[in-house]
């Protein structure tokens, strides 16, 4: 598959995400925030970083970048979209996902290897994982506290839309230990930890993140 990775001004992890896409067996296609063009890709990754310097609110300005018009339209038609960290914030600001990400409750930036449980393996980004798989993936954020009102949280839980949940410690005050969620249709996934930093033994805590990038093939050819 051709998987686009959007670069915004201030994106940090776009190159790592492209690399992870290739490790997952796909062609990585660089997409530019300023273009109204998805270059014919089959899926899109919104990478981590500090797009637009996190000015105003994290993801608030990126949400209105030209390329997001096409991303939002394609997501509505079912294209797989994965937002990692800042990408998750952009998806919430775009209203493709409910809720919001606010500053960590303990007010410190957190950077560590984080244990997670994958709770929804029906999305095109998580189908390679075993049900309730426990994985370790890099986490690094300053504004990673996922919040939504209680009815929304109940709905996410009730519809099985919590994709990943923090194990051991809750690193940022996220409601109900939520690390990642999906939309109603299941094609859009937002995740605060960084699976693209856990795709090879040399440079991360292991290869537990690779599943997010191999799942696309599994979902397509299953």
């Amino acid at each position: 598959m051709r998987v686009g990775v959007v670069t915004f001004p201030g994106s940090l992890d776009d190159v790592d995400a492209q690399r992870a896409v290739r490790f997952g067996g796909h062609e990585a296609v660089a997409l530019w925030h300023g273009d109204h063009d998805l270059r014919g890709v089959d899926a899109v990754v919104l990478p981590g970083g500090f797009s637009y310097g996190d000015y105003l609110r994290c993801g608030a300005i990126s949400r209105f970048a030209p390329v997001m018009t096409e991303v939002i339209e394609a997501a509505g038609k079912g294209m797989p979209v994965l937002g990692i960290c800042n990408g998750f914030q952009i998806l919430c600001e775009s209203h493709l996902l409910p809720g919001a990400l606010i500053r960590n409750d303990h007010r410190k930036f957190v950077c560590r290897d984080q244990r997670l449980r994958i709770e929804n393996t029906r999305t095109p980004w998580t189908s390679a994982y075993a049900e309730s798989a426990e994985v370790t993936i890099v986490l690094k954020n300053g504004e990673g506290g996922f919040i939504a009102d209680e009815p929304t949280l109940d709905r996410l839980e009730g519809e099985g839309r919590v994709v990943a949940r923090y194990l051991d410690d809750n690193p940022n005050g996220s409601a109900r230990d939520i690390a990642g969620i999906t939309n109603e249709r299941g094609n859009v996934v937002g995740l605060m930890p960084h699976p693209e930093h856990a795709v090879e033994d040399l440079t991360g805590p292991g290869t537990d993140g690779l599943g997010f990038f191999t799942s696309l093939a599994a979902a397509t050819f299953a």
Binding site: L56, R57, A60, I61, F64, C92, E93, P98, G99, A100, I102, R103, N104, D105, H106, R107, G145, I147, A148, G173
Partner: protein
Amino acid sequence: MARYVVDVMPKPEILDPQGKAVLGALPRLGFAGVTDVRQGKRFELELDGDASDELLAEVTQMAETLLSNPVIEDFVVSIEGDDALGGKHKA
């Protein structure tokens, strides 16, 4: 030229870590008796033309779409130096 002010505040039920940090710092400076601090944002927008209900509606739309996130924030729009058009407009 009209100046519009948009005040954005975190909703009361939303945790405000920045406000908490300020609250923690004040007693260290000797300011006792502060029981809570909430931190928000203030935007001052200069618009062409005289203040009007149309422009007010436009600024309100700006506040809804970009300046605030309705999931976590409330906002109030006001026109600076023009009481005639009637004070604060809350969303």
